[in-house]
Structures are given as C-alpha cells and as structure tokens.
C-alpha cells in the first residue's frame, strides 16, 4: 500500500488533488481511498488530505500516520508544522516550490520540488515521481473530476505540465 499525505491551506484544493490522484490510480487498476481532514477552519488555514493506493481493496478507515509520500502544496507550511512527521527514512517529499526549503534539507527523506500552478499539475508531478499512473490516466481523471468546472484541454495541459515540472 502506498500512503500519501497532502499538506496545504484550505482553499488550495488539496482535497481535490488527493481525489484526483486516487481517481487516476483507480483508472490504472488500483484500489484507492482519498479523504481530507476537516475542521472549523476556513480558507487559508493549514489542512491535510490523504490518498491510499493498494493492489487489494482498502478496508482500514483511519488517517495516515506513516506516509510513504508527503506532498506540500504550500511551502510556507514547513515553518508551521513538521510535514515529515511519521515518515520512514527515505520517504518521498514533494514540495510545490523551486527550491527545497531549508527545514527539509536536513531531514533524511527524498525531497523533490515541482512548481505547479494548480492541483491537477501537482497530481501529475507526483504521478511522475511515483512512476504511475500514466499522464493519460491523470488527464482523464482530471477531466472526469473537474470537467464540469474547467475546460478539458486546459486540464490535460495542466496534467502534462506536472509531469514535466
């Protein structure tokens, strides 16, 4: 099972990103689970979301405490909270920035940066980092999930962007 934890600010679309990755993985034939952490906090407040991916059906219903992958959608969060909390050595941390924040350079985790404008791109980026699912699955997932709100080509482009970020 791959467990992903998303760090973001309410309003940045971490919930959607977590679902997007799940949707894409589902298309890639995996079993998935995606859920955010809820509170009374409003737009701008720190929040988390989770994605689980596995070869067998996922039955557990607790939050992710030992993530294999951590995605930080807002780099400023690394000052406020230990985003690598509970990670194994060598875990993958994906930061939405151009350079690795100093707070993370120390930690013995694999830290990758990818500047992504939108959550779709971020999902693409992590798919790229994980080696699956395919750009196409991510794009299809994006259209399926957000097709109502945004134009399809734009979404596909964003997914692309993520892979090349």
């Amino acid at each position: 099972m791959i467990e992903v934890r998303w760090h973001a600010r309410a309003g940045q679309g971490a919930k959607t990103a977590a679902q997007l990755l799940a949707e894409a993985m589902l298309r890639a034939g995996k079993y998935v689970q995606a859920f955010p952490e809820y509170g009374p906090e409003r737009r701008g407040a720190p929040m988390r979301a989770y994605t689980r991916i596995d070869r067998q059906p996922i039955r557990r219903h607790d939050s992710v405490t030992h993530p294999d992958v951590v995605v930080v959608l807002d780099p400023s969060l690394v000052h406020e909270s230990d985003v690598t909390d509970g990670m194994e050595e060598g875990g993958l941390v994906l930061v939405n920035a151009t350079t690795v924040p100093p707070e993370l350079s120390g930690a013995n985790v694999r830290c990758v940066t990818a500047e992504a404008s939108v959550n779709v791109a971020m999902a693409g980026a992590i798919a790229a980092a994980l080696g699956e699912p395919s750009p196409n699955d991510v794009a299809d997932a994006a259209v399926a999930l957000l097709g109502k709100k945004a134009d399809a080509d734009a979404l596909r482009a964003a997914a692309e962007e993520g892979f090349n970020a």
Partner: protein
Amino acid sequence: MARLKRLAENEHGVAPLGSGHSLCQGCGIPLVVRTVLDSIAGPKVVVSATGCLEVATTRFPTTAWNVPWLHVAFENSAAVVAGAESAYRALRRRHAVEGEEITFVAFAGDGGTYDIGLQALSGALERGHRFIFCCYDNEAYMNTGVQRSGATPFGASTTTSPSGKVGLGKLQERKDMTAIAVAHHVPYVAQAAAAHWHDLARKAEKAAAAQGPAFLNVLSDCPVGWGHEPREFKRILDAAVETRFWPLYEVDHGEYRLTYEPTDRLPVERWLEGQKRFAHLLRPENADLVKHIQHRIDDDWDALVACCA
C-alpha cells in the same frame, strides 16, 4: 469620526472579539460584532448561536473573545440569553450581583434567527426580557456550506437551491424578518448593514437604551457564499442599500423612520452583479426574473416609505 473614537474608547483597550479566530479572510461578521458591542459603554455579556461566528471563534482550548461569552446550541440563543438575563434580574433583586448594569447581547446568523431560532426569539420578545438580539444576516447557512435559508433572496443559487439545467436558484421570496420582529411590538427594531457602521452604531446605542427587547437585523456579507473577493465587500453592501434591496430603517416604539435615503434609484443589477450566486440571473434568458426582483423591491420600498410617513 467622533463616533469611531467613542467606539474605540468603549473597548477600554481590549477588543470584545479579538484576533486569532478562524473566520474566513475578509468575513463580514466581525465588523458587525465590533460595531454593536463597542457602541455599548457598560459591561456586556454575549450569547452566540451555532454558526460561523461561533465555530470559528472558540476552538477549545482557545478563544478569540475577551468579553463573557456563552454558546449552547443553534436554535436557542434567544432562550439562553433570556435565561441569563432572568438570572441577572433575580440575583440583582437579592443583591447577589452589584455594579454597573450589564447589557445582554445575542448574536445569531440568519439561519439561527429567521428559521430554526425564530421560535425562541419570538418567545423571548413576547416575555419582554431586556436584551439585544443581533442577527448577522449573510443570507444563507454559511457554516455548513452555503445552504438556502429563509433569508436567502429570491433567485440566489445555494447548494440546496442550486441553479442548474432546470434550477433557477431559490424560488421563494426571502422572509421579512425585520417586519416579523416589528409585529412583536417591542421597544426597538432596526435594519442595518455591516458596511454602514455609523448607522449601525447609532442603532446599537438605541437598542442598548431600550427598556426591553431590541432586535437588530444586519446585512453582513460572506465573500465565500456570495462569491466575490473580500475587497469588494463595501461596494456590494453599498449596492444592497443604494438599490433599495436592503433599506436602512428603524422602528422605535412603533415609529418607523428611514435612517438613510438612497439618492438615486439604482437598478437592482448593481446589487446582483459581481456575486457568483446571482450570475445565472444576469443571463439574458433570465431577464424577466430580474424584472420580477426589481418590481418586488419597488413595491416593498413604497410600502416602507408609506409606513414612515
């Protein structure tokens, strides 16, 4: 700005609702709370109904409030404040509490006032407790994700009255809560808007001075639920008043008075535009709906002016 200085003074150095709450960026509610409470010189005790104001200001073990504050549930803020006020009268009579007269203020959203909180409010008004009930009316259940309430205006799209292939937003007119409060024949009732703090402050002073229940119905914007950038909020609330969608008036011991007369009759489009919840109304095919809204506004305004005459 003399009045602002007075408001500042009445804080005695501590804002009644301080920093550190988790209300959205640019939320309109704190302005209502500050203006109303800072208009009261003496000590005050605050009761809140469940809603954005409540969930976002006191996450255990922290609080953003610097004045005594009590929350019990969603639908009962008027009953809770009535209980506190009754306790105060009983204890005063026994000289168990002394000191400067306390003013009791309840804050509730439109849901906690127009809908699920109406009965407790009506009962408290009938019994004549001495308190101010202030509704911050953002025209929907915002805390739970923008569902329609009795205060949601005709045509507004919410998550439970969505515009869609066939949906046109809310199909009922908004409940006229101010008129309902007036029908209770209480000493003081007023309708105000958050951005018009000067007018609101005057009304809050009068409410505090009333020898009995007072009701303030304050239009308070919600950038998230209305769909606009926070910085737009003054323009939008001004439009609400200038288009006469939301007249500013008071009923003091039965006497109606317009507290502000818009200079020129702006068309209702000025109010609708720039808010996502109304976007579908401005599509050409819905022009008749906008006309309907304009008619309703004009009729209501004339009726109100008649009462004020």
